[in-house]
């Protein structure tokens, strides 16, 4: 009988690549910024583009976050999400036009108050609409992807047409509040004030969302629901109610995104929601369907990529995002931060 082999564990540190792997998505964003710095000749224009890329990314994130959470939680894919963006933009812009005396005055406080009123109004409207949409359109087709896609697409058509009925078929032009016009100069680069505000709002939304999901009980239930819904229900939580809450919150966020996007473009149309959905879908796919962090990182990458490429080679801007999506899917087929499902 031979003796047992000697106990000789090797204590090796994980290789650098292994330790960095969890941070790969965020490193990719930084890498993209550095690549932009190398590719773009003038530092000042690089800075301008980076800020506008971040602003665009934040707005896309705000619109996409609801979609990705709704999918993660209930396996519902909402192709009508763009309808909330459009409605949010129309309600918000109408409120801003009503508050013209506040937006026209060169007073930052008044301008921001008007913007807040518009945002709150738009979010309330789209939140309510989200509730109705969930009850009427989505509820009868749970667990059936094909029907979900078709029905929510039908909902999008109807809502777009209703917007045209209520607001007329013409596009509406809107000017930004007085003190958010123009740009400030920083290190030789012109940074549009409005974009800085958009970045700030986006960051606040992301941090608030992260806090809610990670530090509160409701967030715990939502995260558990994403991972294993049946188990959460077995523990006695009414996941249906949680889901409706998430759907309403996601719709309200889409409305917020709509207001911000409308002011960013300075023109709104009934089809704007569906147009932004193209970027939103790219973002949720590369981020990993159901993952809020992935969605955030994906949105930043898409925003930066779009702005850098539009500066270097204008015609390739949209194609570059498709290429980005293809590259990421080759690397991680389920998206950058795949959501693990216990199913």
């Amino acid at each position: 009988m031979s003796a047992a082999p000697k106990h000789a564990p090797t204590m090796a540190q994980m290789s650098l690549a292994e330790r960095l792997a969890p941070y790969a998505p965020i490193l990719l964003v930084i890498g993209l910024v550095i690549a932009g710095f190398v590719a773009i000749p003038a530092t000042s224009s690089w800075l301008t583009l980076t800020v506008s890329g971040l602003a665009m990314g934040m707005m896309i994130f705000i619109m996409a976050s609801g979609l990705t959470l709704v999918f993660g939680l209930m396996d519902v894919i909402n192709f009508g999400h763009g309808a909330f963006v459009s409605v949010g933009a129309f309600v918000g812009v109408s409120l801003l036009l009503l508050l013209e005396h506040m937006t026209g005055a060169p007073n930052l406080l008044w301008n921001l108050t008007a913007l807040m009123v518009a945002i709150v109004g738009a979010m309330a409207a789209t939140g309510l609409m989200g509730y109705a949409f969930e009850r009427v359109i989505v509820k009868p087709v749970y667990g059936h992807h094909l029907k979900q896609i078709l029905v929510t697409m039908g909902g999008l058509i109807v809502v777009e047409q209703l917007i045209i009925v209520l607001w007329g078929p013409e596009e509406i032009y809107i000017t930004r509040p007085e003190s958010l016009k123009g740009a400030i100069t920083f290190a030789g680069a012109a940074l549009e004030k409005y974009r800085l505000v958009a970045v700030a709002i986006g960051l606040v939304v992301f941090l608030a969302m992260r806090y809610t999901l990670r530090r509160t009980k409701i967030g715990l239930i939502v995260r558990a629901g994403v991972e294993n819904g049946e188990m959460v229900q077995a523990l006695g939580y009414n996941l249906r109610m949680v889901f409706i809450g998430v759907f309403v919150a996601g719709s309200a966020l889409a409305g917020l995104g709509g207001v911000l996007w409308g002011l960013y473009q300075e023109v709104i149309t009934a089809h704007m929601g569906n147009q932004t959905m193209i970027l939103v879908f790219i973002v949720v796919i590369i981020g990993g369907l159901g993952s809020v962090e992935g969605c955030f990182i994906g949105a930043l990458m898409v925003g930066l990529m779009q702005n850098y490429v539009a500066f270097l080679e204008p015609k390739a801007a949209l194609i570059s995002n498709i290429a980005l999506m293809v590259a990421i899917l080759m690397w991680r087929p389920m998206g950058m931060i795949p959501v693990v499902k216990a199913k």
Partner: protein
């Protein structure tokens, strides 16, 4: 013999059979039954959309895959013909080269998209096709030196298909025997053949496997069918046929542009036609496309009449405005997905 022609997939309902025969006769003799530029144009549009919608049904109804890139493939065929005719000069060889190249490119693109998205999750396919299709639409309108941009391309088709060409003297049953008549029959016969071909495909063992995958992909994989291969093959086939339909559409209009071939509106029209006609049956495409194209041309008149009759009430006139017909079709679409998932054909067959 007839049964072989439709690959054993008979309408299985006397009423449906009657409707189909009426549609076939109307389309086959359209230039003689309904002389007039507009009605012949409507008939040709119906023929082409039947093929386009049937090829989409191959994907949606039989494969259970939602694609939003069908107009992209349709457009590839149309632009293929347009570009070939512009650069090779007018002639049947250019038509042939253009349509074959368009169909080949469409199948290749479908292969690439399919391999990327269907491998992971079928639901990705819907989103990725939406993104790619809109990127291509933007690209086509930007590359104006090649594609004519937003204005599109007008081109010359072979002289034998133009109104100036006379293949016999005088008139044929009261219709001028010119190239326009030949062009209609080129479109009609090509569409008829393509439709029978698709009927053959869906009733072949390949079609049965597709339906099995639609019903339960997990089980189909367990039985030993490579689900991804079948799905990708269906995507490529459907893309190639859509491109051929696009080529016919370009020949018919002698023009291609982003609005007539690539726009999201057409994609939504196709979806409406498939669902209203009936998913998962080729005859649904016939009924859906016919009804829809007729409605598109004539429902607006009805709506404007209805709008006038309630013009004294608030909001209602706006809702019944002739331009808002898509609103009512959208509502009809949602209701039909809920209550008649098998569409008109499914109802008639009593399922």
């Amino acid at each position: 013999m007839l049964k072989t022609l439709v690959s054993g997939d008979t309408p299985r309902s006397p009423f449906l059979l009657a409707i189909l025969i009426v549609i076939l006769i109307c389309l086959a003799f359209a230039p003689f039954l309904f002389p007039g530029v507009r009605s012949v144009d409507t008939a040709a549009r119906i023929c082409i959309f039947i093929v386009l919608v049937a090829s989409y049904d191959l994907l949606l109804g039989y494969g259970g895959i939602v694609s939003f890139a069908h107009t992209m493939f349709f457009g590839l065929g149309a632009y293929g013909v347009a570009l070939a005719n512009t650069h090779m000069g007018r002639g049947f060889d250019a038509l042939l080269v253009g349509s074959v190249a368009g169909a080949g490119l469409a199948a290749l693109l479908a292969l690439v998209i399919g391999l990327f998205s269907l491998r992971v999750r079928a639901i990705f396919f819907a989103m990725i096709t939406l993104a790619v299709a809109s990127a291509v639409a933007v690209l086509v309108s930007q590359l104006s030196t090649l594609t004519g941009g937003e204005d599109g391309l007008s081109f010359k088709i072979p002289r034998a298909l133009g109104p100036a060409f006379k293949f016999m003297d005088g008139e044929l049953f009261g219709v001028k025997a010119n190239g326009k008549l030949l062009k209609y029959y080129l479109v009609f016969i090509s569409c008829f053949v393509l439709f029978l071909l698709m009927l053959r495909v869906v009733n072949s063992p390949f079609g049965r496997v597709l339906q099995a995958i639609r019903e339960n992909d997990f089980r189909a994989e367990a039985i030993g069918y490579r689900v991804v291969h079948y799905r990708v093959a269906a995507t490529c086939l459907s893309a190639a046929i859509a491109a051929l339909a696009g080529a016919l559409y370009a020949v018919w209009l002698r023009y291609v542009g982003p609005d007539t071939t690539l726009s999201m509106e057409i994609m939504i029209d196709i979806l409406l036609m498939v669902v209203i006609g009936g998913m998962g049956t080729m005859y649904g495409a016939v009924i859906g496309a016919t009804l829809f194209v007729l409605a598109q041309n004539y429902l607006q008149n009805v709506l404007s009449l209805a709008g006038e009759s309630v013009s004294s009430l608030p909001l209602l006139p706006d809702l019944l405005n002739a331009d808002r017909w898509l609103l009512w079709l959208g509502v009809l679409f949602i209701l039909s997905v809920y209550f008649f998932p098998t569409g008109i054909v499914g109802r008639l067959r009593g399922k």
